[in-house]
């Protein structure tokens, strides 16, 4: 069962890397976005420093959403999802494997590259630490919650709208507490409260998301 689970996760990562759509796109996205903001706002270090964590969180969100609607879509269209539903693996675990590979190809690169981008925005050391910790805990939430949205919108007539309407509000808590952690850190306050809220959110979504997404997938297969 574990081997089979790993096979799904590995295949998804392979596909993502081979298409490149996800992992490297995220990195490219970040580098470009960080170039875009100084260009658009003007090169004023004091301001850049202040908006840095916000920009980085906004980009993490966009990166997650960017790849979400492809999470199940191509497997759905080419019939792979039918076949996955027939394997001995419970659909909940399939969802978990997909969410894990989504995180590996989006959330993880975001978290790893974030300090670098923060440096470009001249965020200070403490702020960077807070930001990275918050992203590390927060981005899996995006992948998990996002998988529910992606599953719900498969084959729906207005898939995109649904994805936006369902998923975006669910992302807000993660975003608010994630940004709060970075702010607290750069004010010299403790980041533990914000991080533990994030961790709580992560546990809750770990419990609920696979179940909800699996239910959604089953009804999408009709």
């Amino acid at each position: 069962m574990v081997a089979a689970w790993l096979a799904i996760a590995r295949r998804d990562v392979t596909l993502a890397l081979r298409r490149g759509a996800d992992a490297i796109l995220v990195l490219a996205f970040f580098v470009f976005a960080s170039v875009l903001f100084p260009l658009a706002i003007g090169p004023y270090p004091a301001i850049l420093r202040q908006i840095g964590p916000g920009v980085i969180w906004a980009m993490a969100l966009l990166a997650a959403l960017l790849s979400l609607d492809r999470l199940f879509q191509s497997d759905y269209e080419n019939g792979t999802l039918d076949l996955l539903a027939l394997t001995p693996m419970p659909v909940e675990l399939v969802v978990l494997a997909k969410a894990a590979s989504h995180w590996l190809t989006t959330g993880l690169p975001v978290t790893v590259i974030a300090p670098l981008i923060g440096l470009m925005f001249e965020v200070d050391g403490k702020g960077l630490a807070g930001l990275t910790a918050a992203l590390g805990i927060g981005t899996p939430i995006l992948s998990l919650v996002g998988s529910v949205g992606a599953a719900l919108t498969l084959g729906a007539r207005r898939g995109g709208v649904l994805l936006a309407l369902l998923v975006l509000p669910l992302f807000v808590p993660a975003l608010i507490f994630g940004a709060a952690a970075a702010e607290a850190a750069s004010f010299g306050l403790s980041i533990v409260p914000a991080l533990s809220v994030l961790a709580g959110l992560l546990l809750v979504s770990l419990a609920l998301a696979p179940w909800a997404a699996a239910a959604a997938l089953r009804q999408a297969l009709d």
């Binding site: 096979a7 080419n78 039918d82 076949l83 027939l86």
Partner: protein
């Protein structure tokens, strides 16, 4: 007690009842070919037999036990190939099969399955570069990876050349000799000794749209 027994089955697709009152049964080693015009519900029936679509009415039983009671066990005894090939275009032919073998193997090794359908030479090409028929062969080769006892195949002949069609029929016959069952849909010839079932006989005049 038959291997696969279907009684009084009705299926709904997109809110419309497609057929109803369908019944048949298969003994080990038997095959059934579904016939009927386009849209008569052959694919719908196959999906229903696979457990991908809940029946609107009736019952599907395996060795006397309703399959709905243990969908996991049913999944394990199944080999299903639908209209869609289930092939990832960005993976090579061999990678595609290896993935499915890792997920649920126990039958032929992937390389043998490829060879059985004459795909050994193009095993390492990305699936996006395969011709229509080559991709279909790849989908069928997946059947060999697990020791499934029930094959459900939607139009196995579509797009295959003669050699591949013969290969499939031979493999299917072998599967049945080993006690397996096969339900396949087809429009043309299918060189397999099998009972025929015409879906048109079970059509619902105008599939009502009401889910209750």
């Amino acid at each position: 007690m038959s291997q696969l027994a279907v009684s009084d089955l009705g299926c709904r697709r997109g809110g419309r009842l497609v057929f109803s009152g369908l019944r048949f049964s298969l003994e080990p080693g038997e095959a059934l070919v579904l016939r009927g015009p386009n849209g008569s519900g052959k694919s719908t029936l196959l999906r229903c037999l696979a457990g991908l679509l809940p029946p609107a009415s009736g019952k599907i039983a395996w060795q006397g036990n309703a399959v709905a009671d243990d969908p996991d066990a049913h999944g394990r005894r199944l080999g299903y190939v639908g209209h869609q090939d289930g092939v990832s275009h960005d993976l090579s032919a061999a990678e595609n099969l290896r993935f499915w073998a890792a997920l649920d193997g126990g039958g032929w090794p992937p390389s043998d399955a490829l060879a059985a359908f004459g795909l050994a030479e193009i095993a390492d090409r990305p699936a996006r570069e395969l011709s229509q028929g080559q991709r279909r062969r790849l989908a069928l080769a997946r059947l060999l990876l697990t020791p499934a006892s029930l094959w459900l195949v939607d139009e196995p002949m579509a797009g295959l050349d003669e050699a591949a069609a013969d290969a499939f029929c031979a493999l299917a016959s072998r599967h049945m000799e080993a006690g397996g069952c096969l339900v396949a849909s087809a429009h043309g010839e299918l060189a397999i000794a099998a009972a025929q079932l015409s879906l048109a006989d079970y059509a619902v005049a105008d599939g009502s749209d009401a889910p209750w």
